[in-house]
């Protein structure tokens, strides 16, 4: 069974540009989660999508947004990039978004903002 996949693996942008990160969940999973792992800040929850709807978002500015498609894949968009957005962005999926479900993580997209 294929795991969570993310693309691209690496992304280099300049300040002020927009970045788009993509995630495909494990087959059959309807929930997708996004986390940011920035140096010195640890793993921070960004967004949760389930059945095409945004269910929760973390303490991030509105320029972090995303969506979930009918096939449950997801996209994270970061607008007006700032230097501190440089981080590893991890996507995870779970079967139904139920309470306490295990989240299975992808390999991440490393975003570098110059």
């Amino acid at each position: 069974e294929a795991g969570v996949t993310q693309s691209p693996t690496h992304l280099i942008k300049t300040r002020g540009q927009q970045a788009t990160l993509r995630c495909s969940p494990i087959s059959g999973h309807t929930s997708v989660y996004w986390y940011q792992q920035a140096l010195g800040l640890g793993l921070q929850f960004l967004l949760w999508y389930d059945e095409g709807e945004e269910r929760n978002r973390g303490n991030f500015p509105p320029r972090f947004s995303g969506r979930q498609f009918p096939n449950y894949s997801s996209e994270l968009n970061v607008n007006a990039l700032e230097l501190e957005d440089s981080a590893l962005y991890l996507c995870a999926s779970s079967p139904h978004g139920g309470r306490g479900e295990t989240q299975y993580f992808g390999p991440g997209t490393r975003l570098l903002v110059l």
């Binding site: 640890g42 793993l43 929850f45 929760n56 306490g100 991440g108």
Partner: protein, 117 residues
């Protein structure tokens, strides 16, 4: 406030020695508890999880963890460490509280394990 503390930022053990990584949490109710491992440049791999029942949980790669409610701890152990265990380890909690399902995992800052030959 909900939080997870991993007191040890960096631990070095000799290959074949035993290992214990500490995790303490602060949460309004008994949370769901997880341990993940991250190798350099990789995503997170689930080692084990605690939902309910037996407080000693067995995971993959010979790891186990014990949930101690009285101490708000969920320490990870391995009786004999292998060089391939060198990685970063994260403890995480997920909610089961009355505030609803947030979908959010709260992670500790991680413990980097170095294994000496």
């Amino acid at each position: 406030a909900q939080s997870v503390t991993q007191p040890d930022i960096h631990i070095t053990v000799s290959e074949g020695a035993s290992l214990e990584l500490r995790c303490n949490y602060s949460y309004g109710a008994t949370p769901y508890l997880f341990w993940y491992v991250q190798s350099p440049g990789q995503g997170l791999q689930l080692l084990l999880k605690y939902f309910s029942g037996d407080t000693l949980v067995q995971g993959i790669k010979g790891f186990e963890a014990e949930f101690k409610r009285s101490q708000s701890s969920f320490n990870l152990r391995k009786p004999s460490v292998h060089w391939s265990d060198a990685a970063e380890y994260f403890c995480a909690v997920g909610g089961r509280g009355g505030s609803g399902n947030t979908g959010k995992l709260i992670f500790g800052q991680g413990t980097t394990l170095q294994v000496k030959p």
